[in-house]
Amino acid sequence: MLHIKNGRVIDPASRTDAALDVLLDGDRITQVGPAAEVALSLAARPAGSLEFIDATGLIVAPGFIDLHCHLREPGDESSETIATGTAAAARGGFTAVCPMPNTKPVNDNASVTRAILERAQAAGSVRVWPIGAASAGSKGEALAEIAAMREAGIVAVSDDGRPIATARLLRHVMDYCRSLDLTVIDHCEDASLVAGAVMREGRQSVRLGLQSMPAAAESIAVARDIQVAELTGCRLHVAHLSTRASLELVRAARQRGLPVTCEVTPHHFTLTDEDVGYDTRFKMNPPLGSREDREALLAGLADGTVDAIATDHAPHEPALKDVEFDRAPFGVTGFETALSLALELVHRNALKLPRLVELFTTGPARVLGIPRTIAAGEPADLTLFSVDHTWTFRAAESASRSRNTPFDGRSFRGAPMVTIVGGRVVFRR
């Protein structure tokens, strides 16, 4: 048994924010209560192995879920493996991560899904909840083997890396996924406006002479997707939403009662296109937006329009990123800095702490249609973090195989301290 003592439990699902102890037995939570109550029931139990974690000064939260990441295995193991990626996720406080299907081969059938889950099992770190492709090979033509992948363990579908190609395909995927009770996650972009672009259109792109995409490249696709969600009644989740206009569309759709959710990445709520130079660590898709976009995202995080913070952890081995800006692949790593970047918002009063916890826990769980709470009988997945621990992130010391982060050398206040998955401590700072 594992006894987590003296922590401050924040559990958005039960609206709890109190000094409580948590008792874990095997892979389940067995008790949540005031220290005296937990001590009493411990005293009444027969002697056995009992370990404890002193969580004094720490927040005890439900296990963090990352809805959006790339673990690169199978196919690009020199950039990341399931073992290194999940180790980095554990260091970031995540207890479950959802890898996108754009591996080689694409996760578009049950055998790939099973292989990913077997590797994850062997790695023995955080849980891996794969996202299956919407179309075969994510090519935007025929449907993937969605039902078989669901049986094998996917938690949602997406053609991430690219948008679901046509409104017609999206309609079919959504009709089908509604019947399977699966959320469709879309990487929203209008391909014709994005072609050739390497950053967001604005003063900085004109200054740098880099080919750019307008913000509308995203919101045009978001508008399409919302209308198809309305047509089919399927749950739509907008991946890495990055513009003010997209957020307004999601907000309006929600007000009309449509099942539309969205996620925002730490880099989009922290940086803007003004931070982009020719340093390829600032190149990702969607690209960094304007200051106005970032302000809108911060408002959406605070007011509940945004459901989840997702990392879009996208590792690329150094050689791939050490090239001209035009030639570099899109993507930044993100597991190990996500919580600390979100805590920066708490420290400058842009976000309340319980809301932050929600964005990493019940928010993403709701997107997937699963529960997430700290209560007896629930899986023993917990994230313990400090709001005040000061530290400096060094990409060279990351557990990831890749180093492509714009936050190398950044000093933080607040950090993940202990990550518990199925009752086992998989990371301890």
């Binding site: 604005g202 740098l208 002479g209 880099l210 090239v323 001209e324 800006f325 035009d326």
Partner: protein, 319 residues
């Protein structure tokens, strides 16, 4: 004030003082171009590597000639014969070049920021000979030298730039250079090549769609080449461009009578410019080419010449 330069990556980071110094230095190299014996020994024993990853004739020959007239040797790398075709990365290609120990690398590349990227990873001096749609600093310097010769000062001139501003590295470098000397700009061209953000670069810029309006009162007209080879999808019919933006004698008549016409070349007569204008008395096109040598000689001298280059040395070297 003498100035030290390690690289020449763009005009944007330079101060007006640094630019004025470069132009003054270039003046002393102008005379050499008219001298019967044009070769100096100033850079004897030095090697200039020319790394052109994008086709270029004029700029490459200009740099090669500038190096030759200073007594330097050149190493030539051209995209057609380079290992880039075989999949080698830019950094590896340039590292190989660097291992042959040149004293500086003159680089042209189709990717914006490529010279800055390489300069950040090697010890060697780097000269940007044009990067993508970012900057072409020596072009702006030679344009400024040409304008200064004819107008005696840059301060406060009305400069009209005509053509595809968005995709022009020449336009960007000229905006930064002439903008630092208080010039006022009128940018004119097809609206899709004239983004609003050009007004946010920190210089007095007005965007005008009609050439007639843009040319009125201009002291200097920079005509850009119509770049048919890249970035222009969907294309604009050339007839449309000629109809609205070709610099004709009639349109030129709207500018100040002493207005200068500059063109970075290569120039396509009958497309962006009427032959009568290209060959007319207001055209500076050939002076620009000659001044290109002076500017590039001055730059090479300052970057890899005497370790403690100051204006005295440069003047001595030039005479």
């Amino acid at each position: 004030m003498p100035q030290r330069f390690r690289h020449m990556l763009g005009i944007e980071p330079l101060s007006a003082e640094q630019i004025a110094f470069l132009l003054d230095q270039s003046k002393s190299f102008q005379d050499i171009q008219r001298h019967p014996l044009k070769k100096l020994a100033t850079l004897r024993g030095k090697t200039v590597a020319l790394a052109f990853f994008e086709p270029s004739t004029r700029t490459r020959i200009s740099f090669a000639t500038a190096a030759a007239r200073l007594g330097a040797d050149t190493m030539n790398l051209q995209a057609e014969v380079s290992s880039l075709r075989k999949g080698e990365s830019l950094l590896d290609t340039v590292r190989t070049l660097d291992a042959m120990k040149p004293d500086c690398i003159v680089m042209r590349h189709s990717a914006s920021g490529a010279p800055e990227f390489v300069a950040g990873r090697l010890e060697i001096s780097m000269i940007n000979a044009g990067d993508g749609t970012h900057e072409h600093p020596t072009q702006a310097l030679l344009d400024a030298l040409t304008i200064r010769d004819r107008k005696s000062a840059l301060m406060g001139l009305n400069v009209t730039i005509l053509g595809d501003i968005l995709h022009s590295r020449v336009a960007r470098s000229n905006l930064h250079l002439l903008g630092k000397f208080g010039c006022r700009f009128t940018l004119c061209g097809p609206a899709m090549w004239l983004p609003r953000e050009l007004e946010c670069l920190g210089y007095p810029v007005r965007r005008v769609a009609r050439a007639e309006e843009a040319l009125e009162g201009a002291d200097v007209i920079i005509v850009l080449r119509v770049q048919q080879e890249r970035l222009h999808e969907p294309a604009l019919p050339l007839e449309e461009y000629i109809l609205l933006y070709q610099l004709t004698p009639k349109r030129l008549g709207l500018a100040r009578p002493d207005a200068l016409v500059l063109h970075p070349g290569p120039m396509i007569r009958g497309l962006e410019i009427d032959p009568a204008v290209a060959d007319g008395p207001q055209s500076c096109v050939l002076e620009q080419v000659t001044n290109g040598l002076a500017v590039r000689m001055a730059l090479l001298f300052l970057l890899i010449g005497a370790a403690s280059a100051d204006s005295e040395d440069a003047a001595d070297a030039a005479h």
